[in-house]
Symmetry: C2
Subunit: 326 residues, 2 copies
């Protein structure tokens, strides 16, 4: 890496591929005040992109735009080369096909100024498999967002075998500057972290639909009225720690450990040996960061109430035995 600017100095971002994810990135970067150049080979891409950005903009205004942010800072270019020629950061969001991504990243690497980091929105391909043909693979990283990128904070950042560690660090700092929540991974795992988790859930859901065990409607309801309310507040690990009561995760594993042998999903559980038991308990202690179980319960309850209230789903005080009964 040579003459690239610091993450905080970036003014111009290129988004290559402007579908749902690429377009969402465009909206996010515009709202955060960047100049954005976008390119997409589809004939109707510009109209679709502008519809997406305009549909998202009122929400982004409501959230608070960065100083100077404007849809007027968007330029849709006729060629890939024009899009990236003056970019200080490139976000690739092409369809999820390995050959296509490999070829596109190779072209982007050739057309983008030296040292500028190029990130792929891939949902799960390791960068090692995508950077094989690039001349300067060291600046190619994964920067995996969640839909819509202008609202969901998470980006997972990870490099491939031939990526410079410096490029991974630069990308993580850049995304943070641009208002994202970043998880930087130190190894490549197909699907990264969040997609492995939601893919497990999605596959089990597809099995349930395929076997007639549940309808699409029931599956969605079971999450939005159940665990989904907790997961906006507290991740699955700390959430489960609270199922252990005052004993926390250790008590939860003692109590529900045997359930890992139950046929509760098609996914086989790992052996809950001492090493895993200890790792999970210690990991929860670390994540709790000094908060007691009582603190966490209070935090979860406050959060769930805030979410119920914000989404108009407070349990009505009109329910119950006295309501309208006499």
């Amino acid at each position: 890496m040579t003459e690239t600017c610091a993450p905080e100095q970036v003014r111009r971002v290129a988004c290559v591929g402007a579908g749902v994810i690429g377009g969402g990135w465009v909206a996010h970067f515009l709202a955060r005040g960047y100049d954005v150049t976008a390119w997409d080979p589809a004939p109707d891409a510009e109209a679709r992109l502008r519809r997406l950005v305009e549909a998202a903009w009122p929400a982004l205004e409501q959230l608070g735009l960065a100083p100077g942010a404007s849809i007027g800072r968007l330029t849709v270019t006729a060629t890939l080369e024009e899009a990236v020629s003056e970019a200080q950061f490139v976000q690739e969001s092409a369809p999820e096909k390995l050959d296509l991504k490999r070829e596109l990243l190779t072209k982007l690497d050739a057309a983008t100024p030296a040292g500028v980091v190029i990130a792929s929105s891939t949902s799960g391909y390791p960068m090692t498999d995508m950077q094989t043909e690039a001349v300067t693979p060291g600046r190619l990283v994964v920067g995996h967002p969640f839909n819509p990128p202008y609202l969901i904070p998470l980006v997972e950042v990870v490099g491939g075998e031939r990526t410079d560690l410096e490029a991974v660090r630069w990308a993580s700092r850049f995304y943070e500057t641009a208002g994202k929540s970043v998880i930087t991974m130190d190894r490549e795992v197909p699907g990264f972290i969040a997609n492995r988790l939601q893919e497990a859930l999605w596959r089990e859901a597809l099995h349930m639909v395929a076997s007639g065990e549940a309808t699409v409607r029931d599956i969605d309801l079971s999450i939005t009225e159940g665990p989904g309310l907790r997961w906006a507040i507290m991740g699955p690990m700390l959430t489960f720690a609270l199922a252990g009561g005052e004993g926390g995760m250790a008590h939860m594993l003692d109590h529900f450990g045997p359930s890992l042998k139950s046929p509760w999903t098609r996914l086989e559980a790992p052996e809950l040996d001492k090493a895993l038991y200890d790792a999970v308990v210690a990991g929860c202690d670390d994540a709790a960061d000094g908060r007691t179980i009582a603190d966490l319960v209070l935090e979860r309850d406050r959060g769930v109430i805030a979410v119920l209230r914000a989404t108009g789903r407070l349990p009505g005080s009109e329910t119950g035995p006295e309501a309208g009964a006499e």
Copy 2:
């Protein structure tokens, strides 16, 4: 079933087992204005239960109590028989051990007035396996809540082979009267619906911890800053439909169908044949209930913004290229 009252006429509920889940049920039923009798064999159970209810009460007051609701309506009894002798509904929340649950439900069946429905909070045992020794198994149902039952609306209701359909219907109506969101299942599936989904996610998370692929902290962050924000608003199926852009679930399956073959989780995906493809697309159409993709995007965005705002996680307008740079 004989002389039991209508679900709307219930005044007195018995909670048997008063740990995290049983105690959460006690708090819920008290907040909804019921008289509650509780029993738990642990020596310190009453003190622990009262701590739990008192810790939850301020939140429940804030949410809005039903008329007449009071902690004073809680009676902790010395025996199981006293707890249920005048109950109009019984909620069992004993530890998750099949033998223990089977034995306890048999005792509850013997001690509870004829016709009164008895529901088990089991996390995943089929009622068929728990009702084997009961004299009147027809009134035994599963009523599976989520922690904490006083805040998370979902209850999954399902009977066993020997359960009367009438008892399942009665329980579903009763829970709705008591302010819960109910999914009534017409067949027994181990883990029901939501626990199969969250168990798949939990098992994948445990595998990731066991193999060193991710820390507990990263796993939790990947959900709360990512998919968890969407799942409080919209279930995984409609959420994924929106990844298909204006083409919805059909386009999403065309685009991401091949990912089902990727090693993105330990859970093997089902074959995405025409029948499953059609079932998922039709199920999403059904769940969308006339809402267009644009409607759903708007609804998701409003919801996520409300959740971000309610939980103090709005992307700061101080981020971005203009902020503090000059």
